[in-house]
């Protein structure tokens, strides 16, 4: 398997090709095409129920598309075309692909039966095969980065929501992902601690070249970290561009009304 670093830099990190996703009769995404270049920070915006979370979950292989293809670094994620047919790829392949992708959830989803450090080293040791000592050292660095030095032995239940989410960010980063998916990571937090979590993500954006796909209602944050904003509605991208343009001069009526609603303008 080619290392992603040997790839042609113009190969997109993520590419959706004619993706359709249904839940029963509910067609959530239809004929969806888009690309995210390597190192891009893309924010998805759009009304609730427009399918933003579903897109992230498709990339993380938590959902499976009904039609179409998703490529990561040019390689098919879950399905490939073989002689004009759509063929499902084996779990082993999917698991290899997954290692390049990390996700932070709205509800943190830390493992409550493990300490903070155990949460951080579980996958590096058992998935990436790091030695425990190396994983712990890296875990310490990450804890420092998210401002939680000294919390190694704490259990998640003893931490505040903001602290738990910072651990969850550290846990995702511990896998050294190429692509990081952030699904409304501050929506479950009290307003006064949203800032501390966003500050850490701003720092991650500044100091790494991780490709990020972000769903957020924090428009200032979206503006600061992303270089592209995609507006979703009715299962399609209806408008996209750099944040400055989208936020100040949207062309689509639906984008305008959506933005004025979330910005309270």
């Amino acid at each position: 398997m080619p290392s992603p670093h040997d790839l042609d830099p113009s190969t997109p990190a993520i590419r959706f090709e004619g993706v359709e996703k249904r839940f029963g009769d509910n067609v959530v995404l239809q004929g969806l095409d888009f690309e995210v270049a390597r190192g891009d920070r893309v924010t998805l915006i759009g009304p609730s129920g427009s399918g933003k979370t579903t897109i992230l979950r498709l990339v993380m292989t938590l959902e499976e598309a009904n039609e179409g293809y998703i490529f990561i670094d040019g390689e098919p994620l879950t399905h490939t075309r073989e002689g004009g047919k759509r063929v499902a790829l084996k779990e082993r392949h999917r698991n290899e692909m997954r290692k390049r992708i990390g996700m932070v959830f709205q509800q943190f989803n830390l493992f409550p039966n493990m300490t903070v450090m155990e949460n951080l080293i579980e996958a590096p040791v058992h998935v990436l095969g790091l030695s425990k000592a190396d994983a712990v050292e890296r875990g310490r660095e990450l804890l420092a980065r998210v401002g939680l030095v000294g919390k190694e032995d704490a259990h998640p239940s003893s931490l505040s929501g903001g602290q738990q989410q910072r651990v969850a960010i550290a846990r995702a980063l511990a896998m050294d992902p190429e692509i990081l998916l952030l699904d409304e990571v501050t929506s479950a937090l009290d307003p006064e601690i949203v800032g501390e979590v966003l500050e850490i993500l701003r720092d991650v954006a500044r100091t790494t070249d991780i490709t990020m796909l972000i769903v957020t209602h924090e428009m200032h944050f979206a503006r600061d970290v992303s270089n592209r904003v995609m507006m979703f509605d009715g299962g399609r991208v209806i408008e996209q561009g750099d944040p400055e343009t989208i936020f100040t001069a949207p062309t689509q009526e639906r984008t305008k009304s959506f933005l004025s609603a979330v910005l309270g303008a």
């Binding site: 993380m60 292989t61 938590l62 698991n95 997954r98 290692k99 992708i101 990390g102 996700m103 959830f105 509800q107 989803n109 830390l110 493992f111 409550p112 039966n113 493990m114 300490t115 579980e122 996958a123 058992h126 998935v127 032995d153 704490a154 259990h155 998640p156 239940s157 003893s158 846990r171 995702a172 896998m175």
Partner: protein
Amino acid sequence: MSWNWDHVWDSLPFLLEGFVQVTLLVTVVSSAIAAVLGLLIAIARRTAPAPIAALLTFVVNFIRMTPIVVQLVFAYFAFLALDALTVGILVFGVHYATYMAEVYRAGIDSVPKGQWEATTALSMSRSRTWRAVIMPQAIRATLPALGNYVISMFKDTPFLIAITVADMVSNALEYGGDHFRYVEVIVLAGVLFLIASYPTSLAIRKLEERIAFTT
């Protein structure tokens, strides 16, 4: 009728023999079998291909819906090559495994979906997911119910007399019959049960506290 301590001291060794060699032995060994087999059944029902899972569900329901005495006698005659005590241990183990499997299933279902999703997002293997994330959380929720089944199994051991295996209660009845005197031995058997179950339930409580997820 007055209480006669002589019968208590006289019968005690005989009762203790039944207690240690049958009641305790069957409870401990069969509990271990039930706990492990129950877990395997619960995991298999969730992960095996649909036809196998359906067959397993049928077998589990069948075992749960027939009395343990019937199963004991059936197995006793079906497996003549095995001695009665071994049959008893296996039947108790399998019978209670079907109950424990249900408890585990409920425990596994109580683990939030987000936990499974986090393991996928971290590319964790299936086996590691079960071992490191799902089971520790599922077991924590199931321990009280599993403990109750152990105590219930303990109290079911007199049924073993149906296949000639005499536990403490059967010994008490035998002693009572021989001496035309039941009061002391039956009270003694009850007290011995209580003496054994009470620390067991305390031990289960301690274990629950120890695996609670707090610092």
